[in-house]
Amino acid sequence: MKTAKTSLHPITRIVVGIAGAVMFIALFVPIWQIQLTAPQYPEGLELFIHADKLSGDVQIINGLNNYIGMKEINEKDFIEFSVLPYIIVALGLIGLLTAAVNRRGLYLFWVIFFALFGIVTIIRFYLWLYDYGHNLDPTAPIQVPGMSYQPPMLGYKQLLNFGAYSIPAIGGWAMFAAVGLAIWGLILEFKFKKK
C-alpha cells in the first residue's frame, strides 16, 4: 500500500518524468560542441560530440593539429561512445519509470545515478582534454617550450591562432535541463518531507 512517505510530491513526479523523456534527446542530437575560429578560417570549424560518435570537421582539425603534435582524434579511441548511449537510455527509462511507479526510493536512486554519471563524465572529459593538450609529439614541427594546448572544458580559450569555444549542444542543454529538473524535484521532495 503506497503511503505518503514512499510516494513523490506530485510535481516531482511530473518533473522526473519530463527529465527522463528529455534525456532521450541526447541520443539523436550532438551533446557538446567545440567551435573554432581563426583568421584564415572565416567559415569557422566545428566539432560535435554525440552520445555515440563525433561529427563536424574532425578530419580538418586532425590535419591542423598535426603541426603542434596533438594526437589525432579518433572515435575508436573513446570507450565512452560504446557505453554512453546505454547510460542515457538507462537514465531516461528509470526517470520515466520513477514517474510511473511514484516511488521515492527509485527517485533518489535515479538522482544519485545521474549525479555520479555527471561527475564521472566531467572528470573523464577534463582528463582527456588535459592529455590531449599536454601529451604532445616531441618531433612536432612547431614547438614552443612549455606551451600546452588544452582546449577549454567550458567557455573560451585562445590556442595559437585559433579561438576555441567549448559549449553544450542541443543534447547537452537537454541534459542540463534534466539536471535542473532533478534538482527542483529534490528540493520539492525535502520541502514536502518537512511538511
Binding site: E43, Q59, I60, G63, N66, Y67, P141, I142
Partner: protein, 657 residues
Amino acid sequence: MKNNLIKATLAFSVIAFFGACKPKTASDAVTGNAAQKVYVAPGEHDEFYSFTSGGFSGQVSVYGIPSGRLLKVLPVFSQDPETGYGYGEDTKPMLNTSHGFVPWGDQHHLAVSQTNGEYDGRWLFANENNTPRVARLDLTTFTTTEIIEIPNSAGNHSSPFVTDNTEYVVAGTRFSVPFEDVNGDIPISTYAENFSGAITFIKVDPETGKMGIDFQLKTPPVNYDLSRTGKGASSGWFFFSTYNTEKAHTLLEVNASQNDKDFILAVNWKKISEMVKEGKGRKVKAKYAHNVYDHNSHSATSTILDEVHVLDIEDLEGVAYYIPCPKSPHGADVDPSGEYIVGSGKLASLIPVFSFSKMMKAIEEKKFDGDFDGIPVLNYETVLHGEVQKPGLGPLHTEFDANGNAYTSFFVSSEVVKWNVKTLEVVDRQPTYYSTGHLTVAGGNTKNPYGKYLVAWNKITKDRYLPTGPELAQSAQLFDITGEKMELLLDFPTIGEPHYAQIVPASLIVDKQKRIYDINANTHKHVVKNEDDTRVVRNGNRVDVYMTLIRTHITPDNIEGIRMGDEVYFHITNLEQDWDLPHGFAVMGNNNSEVLILPGETRTMKWVPTKVGIIPMYCTDFCSALHQEMQGYIRVSPAGSNTPLRYGTGDKAPKAE
C-alpha cells in the same frame, strides 16, 4: 601704341575663349556618387558575375560587377601553364582536334544555358573561332568539361547561341568552305559554285549537358556573323545575320560591301528537328573531335568522330526565309518579348527593326521578293516594324532591358545608344572609350533581363589607363542603366579581347559551387587514397610514380633508380578535403609545366629526365606554414645502370647501403 595693345588684348581674348571651349573630358562625364555604386567593401561580394570572352587569349575571364575586379581566368581553348591545363596528361586531350593537338584558340562569344528563356546557371558555352569548336563549362566548378569540334565549318563566329530551353547550342560558320565530302583542292575563285555555309545544331542533354551534333544545315556560301534564338512568340525560330551575299572570296572589305542589303536568315529549327527525326537529310563523312572531361575520374578522353547529319537548306520547305537587312549586318538580336528582331548593319546609317508577327503573316501570304539560291526572300517593307533613323555610325550589336529599351553599340561613332523598341526613338547616347564592339546588359539576351548594369567592351584603349608599352589591355566601361539616362560608373581594363559577355546574378550560381572534390568519389585510373598505397613501378622504360600530397609532405619524397631514357609519369593525388588547399607540383628542368592539384583531385604529369644526378621536386602552391619544407629528391642514374628502384618518406626513405 594703344591700338596695338587693343589688338593684342583682343587676340589674347579670342585665343583664351577658344581654349576654354575644349570638349568635356572623361572625368567630367562621371557624376558624384559613381564611386559608391561600384565600391564593394572588403569582405563583401559583387552582385553579378560577368563571364567575359577572352578573344585571342583563348580563355574565359570572370569579373565581378559592379566592382570590375578580375575574379579568375578560366582555361578553355589555350594551354595554361599555371594549372597545367593542356600540359598535364589528364587535360591534354581537351585540346585535341582533327588537325591534332592545337594549343591555342580564339574565344569570341559566350552563352549561359537557359530554361524558359532565362539563365539557369548550369553551363556556360564558349566558341572557338579559329579551329571551330564549342566548349561547355561546368558552373559548379568553373572548369571546361567538354569540347566538340565543328566539321564543315571554318571560323566558328556565329556561335555559341542557345535555344530558349537549351535544346540546342547553335554554331554558324564565318567562312564558307567546301564541305568535307567534296574535293577541297579547287581554285579559290570557284567560291560561289563550290563553297558552302554550314549552320550546326548541337544537341545538349538536359541532364548531363553532354553535347552531340544533331544536324548541320548546308547553305549558300555567305558569311554568318551572329545569331539569336527566338523567344516567347518566336520560340522555335533562330535568326542569323549574314553578310557577303555578294559571294566574294577576295578583298571582302570592298567586294562584300557592295550590296545595299544582305540578309537575316530566319530558321524554324523546331520544324527541322522534327524532319531530322523523320529521317530527312543524309550522312556526310567528316572528321571531328569530341573531348570530354570527367570530374570523378579527373581526366579527359578524346574521340574522333567521322560522320555528321546534313540537310541541304534549299531542299527544305517552309523552314528558312531571308529577311533583307542593310548593310553587312553584324548583330541579329531578338527583344525580350520575342516579337522584334533588330538588325545592326555595320555600314548602315539606320537600324531596321523587324516584326515576327509581320514575318509570319508575310510567309502565309507569300509576300516574297524572289529567292536567293532557292530560299525565299521576304519583302523588306512587309516585315519591317520600323527603322531607327540616324542612330549613329557603325551599329554592331543590341541588347535589351526589361523596360522596352534597346541598347546598341556603335563602333565608328564610339558610343552606346539607348532607344525605345516600340517607338524607335533615341532616348540617350553616351560615349565609350573607345570604339565599343559588343555590349552586355545583365540578362540582356533573355526573356526577363535583369537590367541595372550595362558593360561596353571596347576595341581601342589609348589613354584610358597608365600606359604599359605599345601593347595595351582592352578597356571596358560599366554603366548604370536604371535611370532615363545612362550613367558612366567605372572604367576597367580586361584580359585578352572581350568580344561579348554574359552577366549573371551571383545568387544563381554561388550556392551550387563545389569547394573541394570528394576523395571518395575519385575514380582516376591512378588515384592513391592512402599514403600507404604510394609506390613507384617500372615497366621497361616507363616509370609510374603513385604519389600523395598532404600538408606538409610529399609521399614518396625520396626516389632512387630512375634512369636516363625513362619516361616518368607522376600520378599525384591531393589528399586534402579542406577549402582552398591546392598543392602544386614541379620537377627541376622538366620540359613541361607544373600541375596544380585541387583537394581530392588526381593529376598526371610527364617528366623525361635530362641529366644524371639529383633532381629536386617541390610543391609550388603555398599550402601551409611549412610549405618551404614540402620538397623531395629524385636520383637519376645513367641509362642501363642497375641502381635499384627505391622510394619512401621519413622512416621509409631509402637508406644508404
